[in-house]
Amino acid sequence: MGFFDLVLDPAGIFSGDAKASDLMDPGGRVIEETTGSDIGRDISGFPFGSGAWDQLDESAEEIWDSFSGAAAEESQAEISGILEGSAAEGIAAQEEQRNRIKEMYAPYYESAVSEGLPQLQAMAEGGEVDYTPSRLYEYSKERGERNIKRIQASKGQFGSSATEERLSDFRSGLAEEEMDRLYAGQLSRTQLGSGAADAVGAASRSLGGNVGALYSNLGSGLNTAQQGYGQSRQSAYEGLSGALSGLANYMEAG
């Protein structure tokens, strides 16, 4: 039962079952229902029908909600909910993009950090180098040694110290080339990972800026909504104050 029902119509004589929005004839018979009311039910002989009381009841409840701030509070909660929901979705979208970019660059980064960089450090400073001779090295070594031996043999110097010197120089040079290739490969891998880290950082800064803007807008919006709620409450109290002041003036004059 609403406010007027309790105060003015406790027996429910006039309220009946009809809704305030139901269309009724002068005798109170519902001729067009909204939801839930019985069609054609003769509710009362009161010329206004039970719908009028319900209308007044609803209006009184709205007025009371306005004074008590319940309506303003509900509106503020709704606005805050919309703002927070929208900001949360926006932030989640930015984070999703950030994670997607991190995943894309992760293989390059991991390869550099876990393999490339440690190998570069091992080659330059000391430590175990993960290496197996390449097929190019093996092939070049075999061909080169054979050619040198053949040439030296043609000169009648096969097995001489001169031959050993030439072979030694050749093998040292080949090993040096092999090491240069290994180093170049590890350096390239490390530089790819470094580039990946830079790219993720740049994307994070950009998307992070979007998140910052979302937070700022949310804060500003919630502040405005809160102040609007306060102003609504103040307005309601001022209205009550005015009514009481009018009553006081009436009593003073009387």
Binding site: L120, A124, G126, Q191, S216, G230, A248
Partner: protein
């Protein structure tokens, strides 16, 4: 009757004050909410920055470590035979050197060390440049964070200062209104005295 009008008048004053207080409370709450949201924004930006620093850290640390050894390398105080590249090359040629004359063996090892001494300087410089690149990227992130934090703190400060000013003005307005209403109360007391009746004209 006039005297009892004080009661609704006092109730009116109370309601007016309540309204002002409600507005003041909302001003403060709203500003505090916005300041708290800005704090969340700052925390998020700081988190993103720290992630970036962690990401660059391996490259930066490698560069710094290489830089320490580079100081000795360019003054030829660093032993190049300790490097992994030297050891790997030595491993490639040592088996074949076993059957070679001693002077050939010594010559090959000496040449290997001399060449590696120069190449090591280049490798250490490469590592430093990788570290420098990481520092540059971290520096950009740091600058960005600094700008974001400055703007956020400025906004928070302005919001709180504005709210404080607004509340102060609202308080002043409330007391001015109350004072004005209080000044009208004596009229209710004077209105309660019985009026002099005029004597009928005889």
């Amino acid at each position: 009757m006039a005297f009892w009008a004080i009661i609704p008048m006092l109730a009116s004053m109370y309601a007016s004050q309540k309204g002002q207080q409600s507005a003041m409370a909302s001003t403060v709450e709203g500003a505090q909410t916005q300041a708290n949201i800005e704090k969340m924004s700052r925390e998020y930006s700081t988190k993103v920055f720290e992630e970036d620093i962690e990401r660059q850290k391996p490259f930066y640390d490698a560069g710094v470590k290489a830089g320490v050894k580079y100081d000795d390398a360019i003054t030829n105080k660093l032993d190049p035979t300790k490097s992994g590249a030297y050891q790997t090359q030595l491993g490639l040629i040592s088996e074949d050197l076993e059957d070679a004359p001693e002077y050939v063996r010594e010559g090959a090892i000496e040449k290997l060390g001399a060449i590696e001494g120069e190449k090591q300087k280049g490798r250490l410089m490469d590592l430093q440049q990788i570290g420098l690149g990481a520092a540059g990227s971290a520096g950009t992130s740091s600058t960005n964070l600094g700008n974001v934090l400055a703007q956020s703190y400025e906004l928070s400060g302005n919001v709180m200062a504005g709210a404080t000013k607004s509340v102060s003005e609202q308080k002043q307005s409330m007391w001015n209104t109350t004072a004005s209403q209080l000044s009208g109360l004596p009229s209710y007391f004077s209105a309660s005295k019985p009026l002099k009746t005029e004597e009928p004209i005889r």
